[in-house]
Amino acid sequence: MIFVTVGTDSPFDRLVKVVDAWAERTGRSDIFAQIGEGAWEPKSIPFAHLLDPCEFKERFAAARVIIGHAGMGTIISALHHGKPILVMPKRASLGEQRNEHQLATARRMTEIGGVNVAFDEQELCQRLDRLAELALPRQIGSAANTSLLKGLNEFIHSSF
């Protein structure tokens, strides 16, 4: 199962269109997409505009591969579940975001998290054709790193 998610903020038709065309071309039927609240709808893949958080978690857990925008919620969830993830950054230059933070996130998370990045539609298409070659992510636990937790806990109690 492939789960496609573009985040809760805005749709990302540029990504879903590539996956939709790929599904049509290859006949791949084990795909589900959360596409956000937009007017365009895919033809060849089942989708929801916005899943309830519980259903989102179920879909995410059941997936073998995650394809998504370069949002940290999506990336953290993939690292936590140890799922290979392929992201394409939403771009401010194309009106998909307020700033280019997803570009920065994608670059950094490739280095430290084993996140696979396609920077444009062409690259996404190429990576989809070689899905089995995706790098495995660096698996993370369920909580932040200890120095952050310790620092926060001390601050909270010292300020009381």
Binding site: C54, G71, G73, I76, T105, N145, L148, I156, S159
Partner: protein
């Protein structure tokens, strides 16, 4: 005599901000915690904990932003937390600003998504927070946010 626990309000918008907030949970040990976010669907993430719903809002929707501010003001007045902690975005910014006015201690943790520069709301919220953190060491600075670690 047992000492009362600090009352902590952990607040954020949904999606990645909420996921980051949840990863801080072990830091809230020894606190009386209330979680606040924008969708009831997230309640299942914090079973057995106090959970409050707030209106969502972002910079491009003025009416929603005002609704969010009113719901957060109400929440702060009712819950009277000692400490307000947020990972963003707009609701967290509002909570930190109003919390500060109400003389609560405030913590702003800039999202890990801001890897090359701090977000606009992050800079504004961070400046008025008692503890201002970035999750990227290269963004820490004197007079700016500190780096203590990240949610990863």
């Amino acid at each position: 005599m047992t000492q009362a626990k600090p009352r902590l309000l952990a607040i954020s918008s949904g999606g990645g901000h909420w996921i980051q907030l949840l990863r801080l949970r072990p830091a809230f040990e020894g606190c009386d915690v209330t979680y606040a976010t924008v969708s009831l669907g997230y309640r299942a993430d914090v079973p057995g904990c106090q959970f409050r719903l707030i209106h969502d809002g972002n910079r491009s929707q003025k009416v929603a932003l005002v609704k969010a501010a009113v719901s957060i003001l109400f929440l702060l007045l009712v819950e009277k937390p000692n400490v307000v902690i947020s990972t963003g975005a707009a609701p967290g910014y509002i909570a930190v600003r109003i919390g500060k006015l109400l003389r609560m201690r405030t913590i702003w943790i800039d999202s890990i998504a801001n890897a090359e520069e701090l977000s606009m709301s992050g800079q504004k919220a961070g400046r008025c927070a008692d503890l201002w953190l970035t999750q990227w060491p290269h963004l820490a600075s004197e007079g700016g946010p500190q780096y203590l670690g990240s949610v990863l």
